[in-house]
Symmetry: none
Subunit: 203 residues, 4 copies
DNA sequence: AATGAATGAGCATTCATTCAT
DNA sequence: CATGAATGAATGCTCATTCAT
């Protein structure tokens, strides 16, 4: 049989990489960087132990690459708020809902793992500094200000409001992403009270 | 020369035990049961590796004993809300404040680790089932109902309200207890909006 | 290049397993389960420490698996007495000879270690109960009775005769299997006097 | 209170030493040198761990000292055969009985442990060379020869006869001294057949 | 590209031995 | 003399990583 041409090879490589990443993503997010075993990732990806190392030089590199991707995705998710329909507070409500259920949480969970676990590679720490909470705050600031002008959002210091909102949201995502049934997902509506203008709620 | 008398020995043993527990508490809460190395605990406690095993039979036993203690303490903290001054919402506010800063968080963090980590001893799992979120909900229910009657607390289903409050609080404690500066502690006042009756806030 | 095919892998695995078993057998029989260090077994087998654990989950499992095999072999050896040539007493003599020199002793030695050492896994204890001395006695009983009828074997209580014979044989095997030159192997002929009918010997 | 005088001190020291030796003897003979833990010996002796080291510099020294004593005792036991009543074969029978039940076995067991275990101190190995099987053979030789002249003992090569007798006896003692009920003590009468002149038995 | 056998460094735990009291 | 707290070296076992095929 004729050997595969370059393009086909490239495609196989890319598919495998994605397959591995998906498996690793799942395992890392669930177990954290130390409890996640390379053998577990290989098994989840349905490949051999050794093959992992054809695609990623090390566990650290694999983890780093995932965190990088998660940061991009989480930023995109965050930015997407501006494209959502409705008034500012409605946009935020939609964003919040999306994060509380499954869609957005895994990315944040991985980032949380990266932020709080031991044994995180140095490179990841540097990446995280760039994408600190401030980045997200800057991203949401115009939206919150707009909401305040519209009287929908409480008139507190907007940065503090955002910090509070993000911390609560992060916390919720973290405690809910461990497959642990004990905690309850609060409804997005309740969380909105944190930032909504009370007068608005009243009506 | 005569050996140390019983009282002195007892005192030494007690001191060492507490010293080890304190060190282990710190390490476990920060790192989780797997990442926490016995050598790390020993070093933190300023003792040798071997001595750990004079006082605790195993890593599991040490962890279990700490979780047990944390459960007792966290329950006590939660119960203490009834003894606090002021109206129901003021009591809850004080409780919230206490948990957000240093005082209460470590206990919750350890319990969170126990709930979500891999490699948790079977006995701990059993203990955790007894102290589920429901336990805390039951404890706070009368207080929330009283607050609702007084018009201070939002008129939602009280159990859902408490679940939301506890989840948010847990989340905050978790993300804040990793010695990570990136997240911000939301102010207790802001968190109170989750449960407060909006009309009351307004005034 | 394609990976090794199934058959080759299977062969490698089987060879390694046997290689490890042989090494472990030697070390366990000589040193007992506690003194036998996994590193010693690995070295004897000419492999790394870690590889041991690809083939056997633990020291206990390795030991158990060897004891199991030894019990099967020792039973087979014992049963084979019926297929040996000659009269009952000649059969027993041949069996005895086989056990005193190298062929059968190591199996018995391992079983002896299992019976008398500390730190023997629970499962091994259960196995040993099934294969107690009584099992062997039952196996030899018909042969001894036949010999008694033929006037070749002493007319004592046959079970006691067998017990005596087996104890002596076990003892000999044990003291001889430690690579210790100090003890002498008694000749089989001498041992036969324990059970032979004295009148027969005379002639 | 007046301090104890030298003699009293000396007596206490001696008593303690014997107390420790007795405990160690028991534990070593039962468990072998490696499985025997110093803490076990201390507990058996009813003293603290540390005190052991006031009386014996190390585990090795303690073991060595016991082996030395056991060698002296076993030699004495062996020699005592000449003082026993009866004909040569009766003397040997009495000796055999004494060794099979409790009285003599522990000494031999300890020596067997010393001969066959791992981790035996170099000094013990040297001692054992001096007291090899040959020593015992020399001791019993005159008795056996006398028995042969009297027609009570089989007319084989006397040294081989003794070697056989001693090996069997050692084996019996070894397999019986592990508190293991599975093996049976053969009766002394049966063992005597190994060496007795068959004609004598007949009558 | 793909496999899984092989390696070795790291961690929990045990235990002989020392030391302050 | 006597105690038991304290130490640290040794051992079973795990797992990231490499390598021959």
């Amino acid at each position: 049989m004729a050997p595969l041409n370059d393009e086909q090879l490239h495609q196989i490589r890319d598919e495998r990489r994605e397959q591995i990443k998906a498996a690793a993503f799942q395992v890392f997010a669930r177990k954290g960087i130390i409890s996640a075993k390379m053998s577990m990732i290989a098994e989840t990806a349905g490949i051999s132990n050794g093959l992992l190392y054809h695609y990623f030089k090390s566990k650290d590199e694999l983890f780093t690459s995932l965190v990088q991707e998660a940061m991009v995705e989480s930023e995109a998710t965050m930015r997407s708020v501006y494209a959502m329909p409705g008034t500012p507070i409605e946009k935020i409500r939609t964003l919040t809902e999306g994060m509380i259920d499954e869609s957005g949480a895994p990315y944040f969970m991985l980032i949380h793992q990266a932020r709080t676990s031991d044994g995180v590679p140095e490179k990841v720490k540097q990446l995280l500094e760039q994408y600190s909470m401030d980045t997200y705050m800057d991203m949401l600031l115009p939206l919150f200000q707009e909401g305040q002008h519209a009287g929908e959002i409480a008139a507190d210091d907007p940065r503090e409001l955002i910090a509070c909102y993000l911390s609560v949201l992060s916390g919720i995502m973290v405690i809910n992403s461990n497959g642990n049934d004990d905690y309850r997902h609060p409804k997005a509506d309740m969380l909105m009270r944190l930032i909504a203008n009370p007068e608005t709620i009243n009506k």
